[in-house]
Symmetry: C2
Subunit: 321 residues, 2 copies
Amino acid sequence: MDSDGKEIFRAILAAKDRLLGKANITPVMSSRTLNLLVGGEVFLKCENFQRIGAFKFRGAFNAISRLSEEEKSRGVITYSSGNHAQAVALVGRLLGVSTTVVMPDDAPQIKRTATEAYGADVVDYNPREKTREEVAGKLREDHGYTMIPPYDHPDVIAGQGTAALEMMDEVKALDMLLVPCGGGGLLSGSAIAAKGVKPNCRVIGVEPELADDATRSFRTGALHTVKNPPTIADGTRTPSLGKITFPLVLKYADDMQTVSESEIIEAVKFIFYRMKLVVEPSGALGVAALLSGKVAAKGRVGVIISGGNIDGPTMVKILKS
Amino acid sequence: MDSDGKEIFRAILAAKDRLLGKANITPVMSSRTLNLLVGGEVFLKCENFQRIGAFKFRGAFNAISRLSEEEKSRGVITYSSGNHAQAVALVGRLLGVSTTVVMPDDAPQIKRTATEAYGADVVDYNPREKTREEVAGKLREDHGYTMIPPYDHPDVIAGQGTAALEMMDEVKALDMLLVPCGGGGLLSGSAIAAKGVKPNCRVIGVEPELADDATRSFRTGALHTVKNPPTIADGTRTPSLGKITFPLVLKYADDMQTVSESEIIEAVKFIFYRMKLVVEPSGALGVAALLSGKVAAKGRVGVIISGGNIDGPTMVKILKS
């Protein structure tokens, strides 16, 4: 790994210390049936058992805990209607930092309620009139909040990398690591963590065919964007990789792979029925790539299960399909 | 504990050795939210992660592996349309013992298919004309099969007790243990295992209100029966405790508690949404007793999650309710 990678790897090691006793050290699960089906030894790093039900707690905690006392006293802001919103809200409560979350006024009530339950101040905006960046930027200027973006931030990336780092310690000597890709924070952090421990571990990002911006960006070297992709994997609906994550994914990921909606659904069902785990569709991307045969399992294969926050109607739809 | 209990405790210790490397050592999970809600420290022993998705593997393996070579060569038989059937079928395959499972001809196709997939020979009978004991007894006489009943057998009880034994080792010093109760094999084995390690651990059996035969038997000292109770917790639809399990439950359980159907459903949903675990309704009985306040959590509370084999339509019904 080059010196940039080594520096980020050191930041991931530091984040691990910061998260000690705060984040859950999530278990690694396996399945004889899955191993037989894919012809490799597969290990699932279960971030669905992380606090708030997804890996996002790691990055949010790492970023907010690194702020100065003065920044903490002014509070933080973010824009997200998903797991990052809940992560920032919970971390704010744990660290005594006030949190503001900008959410579109058509966000599901359940996500708004969950974020408020963790103690955040939710500010609505009309996505037909303004962008979330505009709304958050204005509030930030008016109140002096610090922005904690969902992925394009060095401390967020370092925090997300701790899941793969933990896994390398729990499972040892992985030959391959599959990581869901939305904005690329988890993927770039995971790739650097894995290669920092085992340089020849092959790291593959997985995204839905319907939201294949990162795959196209990776293949062409030019940033591609997919706006509001209609994929069931809501954690990957980010329009594109970020200014920081795009070059990191280009440099440290070995490949990208896309999977279809039905492959994602089959993976959620397999994990539900055979492994008794609740995972959200984005969390099942790695297993979908293996079960569909699109990624051939070789040796010891790690898979990051990114989260388990699936709402009732989505699970019902999947179980009935 | 008296000498009977001590002898069974020794049988549980021996079963633990026999199961080493065969059964999964299942993880113990906890939830900050659950602890806050119930005011105790709760530990879930996750037998939904056991082989075949339920604790039944333990008893079946212990019983079948203790047979003589001659008995093994003649094969085994059981009657069950649930988890015990799959457990016997898988153990038979692992130990090279042929298995026959007697099932009512109206048993769900999915259960029949699962049992056959593990390699058992499934024999149908018409439950309007004959009892399963009659059908199994005839086959046993004709073929010299050994009967492996679902709960009323010393080796089955000893095997089931290994889950609680493992838990006492994993969690240490439990003040209370909640155990689902159907035929009483898991409850009696668990009670003896827990008290063998920590004599003052309070053990409480939990069953559905609609299938409260064991609770009434426990209170009155006389065996009560509930035929085909319409509870969603299908693992507890056994008509009554057994000849062996009834006196053991009377002697070693400290109390019994019933929970309503809606309390069971709420518990399955809580475990799904907050803990990201798939549990079958019978497996959620202990959590239902705690969340409903019917059992007050005191100190360190263990809960046996007996299994995770829930079919799609049942989970859909629960998520929509």
